[in-house]
């Protein structure tokens, strides 16, 4: 309908001029929407990115089908005797069992994750890719491979030395950097350090003990059966299959994303109240104008369209700016995370779904918030407002 198009153009023209007339107020209102959309976009992007990336990283990293770890301290305390490995190897369906120490250690004033593992196994289980140098060789107890971000932060290169010390205190040992880690698995994650199992044990003063046993299966489909057998064999240890870990991690990430989303929703609700307030003020200021437009033949639908357009423009600008700022925020958080040396990187995922959803959300929330004041505007009676100045 051409008529609708013309009315729409008129409504947009009036709405943009009305916003232009009260620039500061409109800017504040738009800011309210921007804050909400920025929060939602950045949090969703981070949550979404973490979920996809952490998931794939985990499945790459845990080349093993099942992990056995001592309970407590998040499986990081090394109190499984190394000889347990021999019993595990007896369990039908088990192809190999690799002893590992996973622990947090201090290096250059901050904590990092250190994995102590037989160098040959590191390659096959963790799918390690190096950007420089090599993995430690058997018998090289004081060699280390460090992540590329850590290397940059500490300013070390291959053949330099770093000092690793237990977070529990103690003197620590000097290690020679033999390789720089680019990535673990197919993800962009470059976690802390790899050292030999013996070196890790002596650093923790836990000779003969490990924190985790990685169990490699003959056939992945036997995971449940093997897991069951292992649980019966070692009732006090925590035995979990890779799938269970993945779903657990996903659960946690889902909760985190949900909480973040709720926060975003609250800030957006505040923004919506701002829109409602602005449209109410606009209607109030333009009472005479509305009465006049109705007098010269404007119908309710015309008036409704004019004010809803104002809300829609606010929503549109807020949505665009919110999207841009939100993605910028993800970038800043990513940068921040890598400079303070967090043991993981946040992937910057620009998801078209999130961007489109944020645009629609911003537009819909603004229009809905503008509905009530706009509807009130349509109830203005020309006779009552036109008579006196």
């Amino acid at each position: 309908m051409a008529n609708t198009v013309k009315t729409f153009r008129l409504a947009l023209n009036m709405a943009s001029k009305s916003i232009g007339r009260r620039k500061f107020r409109a800017a504040l209102t738009i800011l309210g929407i921007i804050i909400g959309i920025t929060t939602i976009v950045s949090l969703m992007s981070i949550g979404y990115g973490m979920q996809t990336e952490v998931g794939s990283a985990l499945s790459d990293m845990l080349g093993a089908g099942i992990t056995i770890s001592s309970g407590g301290m998040g499986g990081m305390s090394a109190n499984i005797p190394e000889y347990v490995r021999d019993y595990v190897l007896q369990v039908p369906g088990v192809k190999d069992c690799v002893p590992v120490i996973t622990t947090m250690m201090e290096v250059g004033g901050s904590q990092t994750m250190v994995i102590g593992i037989d160098p040959d196994q590191a390659q096959s289980l963790y799918h390690v890719t190096l950007s420089e140098g090599r993995l430690p060789r058997r018998g090289e107890d004081y060699s280390v491979v460090i992540g590329v971000s850590m290397a940059e932060r500490l300013g070390v290169h291959v053949n330099d030395t770093i000092t690793l010390s237990s977070t529990m205190g103690g003197v620590g040992n000097t290690f020679t950097v033999v390789g720089i880690l680019r990535s673990v698995g197919s993800s962009g994650i470059s976690i802390g350090c790899f050292i030999s199992l013996q070196a890790a044990q002596s650093l923790l003063k836990k000779e003969g003990y490990v924190s985790t046993l990685l169990v490699v299966l003959n056939d992945p489909s036997q995971a449940t059966y093997v897991e069951h057998s292992l649980k019966q064999l070692f009732p006090e240890a925590s035995v979990s299959s890779q799938e269970a870990i993945l779903s657990q991690v996903n659960n946690i990430l889902n909760i985190v994303t949900g909480v973040l989303l709720a926060l975003g929703a609250i800030s957006l609700a505040v923004g919506a109240i701002g829109v409602m307030n602005t449209i109410t003020m606009s209607v109030y200021e333009r009472t005479r104008e509305i009465g006049m437009m109705k007098a010269v033949g404007g119908e309710r639908s015309h008036i409704l369209l004019i004010f809803l357009s104002e809300a829609a423009i606010i929503g549109l600008i807020g949505g665009c700016a919110g999207n841009v700022l939100g993605l910028l925020m993800v970038y800043v958080i990513k940068l921040f995370a890598s400079t303070i040396g967090l043991p993981f990187t946040i992937p910057l995922v620009i998801s078209p779904t999130i961007i489109a959803a944020a645009m629609i959300l911003s537009l819909a929330i603004s229009v809905i918030a503008g509905l009530y004041p706009s509807w009130k505007a349509t109830n203005i009676r020309p006779v009552e407002v036109l008579r006196y100045e």
Partner: protein, 299 residues
Amino acid sequence: MSRAVELHNVSKVYVLGEGVKVEARRGVDLNVEKGELLSIMGPSGSGKSTLLNMIGGLDNPTSGRVIVDGIDITGMGEGELARFRRESVGFVFQFFNLVPILTALENVELPIIFEGKLSSGETRERASDLLRLVGLGERMNHRPSQMSGGEQQRVAIARALANDPSIVIADEPTGNVDRETGSKILRFIQHLNKTLGQTFILVTHDPTVSQASQRIVYMLDGRIILEPPKSVETPSKQALIEERRQLMLAELGWLRNSLIRLEESRDSMEIELYNQLRAGYASKLESLKQAIRGSQEVS
């Protein structure tokens, strides 16, 4: 051929608060012929504006029938009235009532867009033609704030003519401009009336406005009190002042009556409404008294 306006026994009762009724119009009959230029005069509160609003389809009468250009608008609903207003009526207001954020051209386009029959190009063309007709061809892209009162009122007249209405009704069209501009606007209305045959109904306090019209209708307390034929000779200045004074005195009487009625119904209405009305009446009374005193000094 149907008349431009026919009013049959039209009355309007305002319900103010609970049980308080104010009769603004009492059983009025009035006919306006096509091409006529009619003035309605009377003190404020006499029901002129109410009458005008009912003719223009802005207000519904409590009883009686309003027929404009052969169409009975008495029982029309809100949507139908809106369409009627934009197709058949042009409005000119005392305070111009232009949309401040729109240019002169856009203001004139407004009713044409609401009507929706012309294309964008035709709309623009029609609005430009009308602005040229009112002598504002050079000021089309100015906003109301950049124009004088007289110019704004001419934009309002162009807007009133936008959809080629059967009648143009103007409530105090010269009430908010200086004398000279007022008489220019008046001459312009006369000109449009003669050249286009456009029917005008004016409400005014200004005797010079009413003189310019073919017929004057006087109103007092919701009634049409006399319909004198247009006098041939121009009344003297003294007579004009005296006429004004009489009108003001009539208004004074109306105000006093209103106050008495208000006092009578004080117990049956909300105190806030009562206070508001009372304050309104009182301030009006005060300014009226001063105006009357002023006119006595002159005479």
